[in-house]
Assembly symmetry: C2
Homo-oligomer: 354 residues x 2
């Protein structure tokens, strides 16, 4: 159960005197409820770590990938391993079979200890026939936000939260994500600098830039039944897929470095009824512009709105996202034996490679 009082998405201990305004007035009331994850005030930073594997499908490479994933997931159980993780699969734009482990910590020191003992080798030690990569953000809690349509099922970083908020105010309008990020009270979060590459044989590190933006935006249709399930699979999902494929293939001109539209798997590697899109953006502004006005996202928004306004509070589809805007020193990207269209490798123009 949630409190019926409206609260700010920014918790009291992260509120500060503003030099920048929220987009909506104080008496704004959103037309439907949404919720955000609430960490304990003692949590100052979190870690979002993506461990990816890619390969041209064959019996040998599939075995190598499965072994790598098995080792990594075993290490997640070690001391100071992630508090939460999930696993997802997709076929990327180069036709590579791809699996990613998304793992979350709310203690940077724990992550560092675990990483040096178990995680660092993932994209440092080559494995025959497969590429591996590590993409890590270690944002301060002022630099990301979450949003959930349902307060009972946390996903992603929210799985480490103390709990969910009551109904929050800053949502259901364009610019809500920015207004939910505590840093927006005083910071335009404009991107500065440019990504660069350092090569060491087949291993490539990408140095990002300030205010790089990551979104993980997910949907869970597990509880939908009959007509609602059909509405999701026939009316919403194809529009979502089209938008995700547009970003993947043509997002570069809009500031989207890469987009992965993935299906979450269970431990046995079987697809579940959950998916998410994950994309790296030059800036929150670039993400805002695509979301608000590009035909592919307007179509997604329209399909979702039609779905939700038809079903109202009866809708069983669960939606959530997390948006992070990080400083360059909160980022780590390493790619080993990966094709050059992988992840943040696409953030670097050919001229700027070293």
């Amino acid at each position: 159960m949630t409190d019926s009082t409206m609260e700010s998405a920014i918790p009291p201990h992260l509120q500060c005197p503003r030099t920048r305004q929220r987009r909506v007035p104080d008496d704004y009331a959103p037309p439907y409820p949404s919720y955000v994850a609430r960490h304990a005030p003692s949590v100052l930073r979190v870690v979002m770590a993506y461990f990816g594997v890619q390969y041209r499908p064959s019996e040998v490479t599939a075995k190598a990938a499965a072994d790598a994933l098995k080792e990594m997931t075993a290490s997640f159980g070690a001391t100071r391993g992630p508090g939460h993780w999930d696993r997802a699969r997709w076929t990327d734009q180069a036709g590579f079979e791809s699996v990613i482990l998304a793992a979350y910590w709310d203690d940077v020191e724990a992550f560092d200890a675990w990483f040096s003992a178990h995680g660092a080798s993932w994209s440092m030690v080559a494995r025959d026939g497969i590429g591996t990569y590590t993409e890590v953000l270690r944002p301060h809690v002022e630099r990301y936000e979450t949003l959930f349509s349902n307060p009972d099922q946390p996903e992603g970083i929210a799985a480490l939260a103390q709990g969910m908020s009551g109904m929050i105010m800053e949502h259901a309008y364009w610019g809500g994500a920015r207004d939910r990020i505590p840093a927006s009270q005083t910071d335009a979060m404009a991107p500065t600098g440019a990504a660069s590459i350092v090569r060491d044989g087949n291993r490539v590190r990408v140095h990002g830039h300030d205010n790089l933006c990551l979104i993980r935006s997910g949907q869970d249709w597990s509880d939908t039944q009959r007509e609602e399930r059909t509405m999701y699979t026939d009316d919403v999902e194809p529009v979502l897929r089209e938008g995700m494929e547009f970003l993947r293939d043509q997002g570069a001109s809009l500031g989207c470095y890469t987009n992965r539209y993935v299906v979450i798997e269970n431990a046995a590697g079987q697809p579940t009824t959950k998916s998410y899109g994950m994309s790296w953006w030059k800036s929150l502004s670039a993400l805002e512009r695509w979301s608000e006005s590009h035909p592919t996202h307007v179509a997604i928004f329209g399909a979702a709105m039609k779905y939700l306004s038809k079903l109202g509070p009866e809708a069983k589809l669960k939606l959530y996202h997390e948006v992070t805007v990080t400083r360059a020193d909160e980022q780590f990207f390493e790619y080993l034996n990966c094709h050059d269209q992988t992840g943040m490798l696409r953030s670097v123009s050919p001229q700027s490679t070293a």
Copy 2:
């Protein structure tokens, strides 16, 4: 022809040190061109005056209305009359035939002189069988904005401008209208106070409230041909009409006091291929919220986007609007023998009538 350099919608002489931020970063580039009206810097205030007539259709009332309109349009030709005006017709939600003359001045003193000589009697002297009303805004130039898809055909207040801008920056994103209004540099333009009524027999004055908002949003399909004309009439106009009727009938809960969706007429009273929607809002915020997220406007936006992205620069449909956010002392509303669902009469809850 327009300059290819991007310029701010806010002209240099109205720029000031900001205490509030624009919604887009300095390097934002809109995906297609739009233009704004540029008044001479000597213009400090303008006048937007709507003279309306309403009647239950009959031979007698139609004649009375035609006579009234004829007198008024004749007076527009008098000394210090409007620099521009047009005439439009619709049937209102109460089934009344309605005609409105929209007249524009860029000199408040000229308007005042003309009004006391010719305009004031419109809603002071009763005419048999018809209702008349006067709705006037006299905004400072800091308090409104315009936007045109085409720089060659001004409409509304823009007809009095010195000319059109080059391509402007602040458009094609939600919040653009606010960012084009010079006052937004330092003012949240939040509504304060409440409208009230003063009755004098069948004549009613409405005293508005600070930061009341007016939008006139128009479309001109005169130059469309064949397939494009069909696309407009079959795919866009019905969606637009549905949104306009929603606002008219159910807008109150969203802060829309009234909405008129009208077709512009020629001097002979015949419909042209131009229309506009005109609505009074509690605040710019309320207008923003409906525009960005209500299914009825998302549908209009989606239909327009589909149309324009299909036709690209070849589109002959012309779109424009003007949005004004006025102080209470820049407003004048007077209704004579009008039904109680007319215009700003709907801004006053029954309890607050005097």
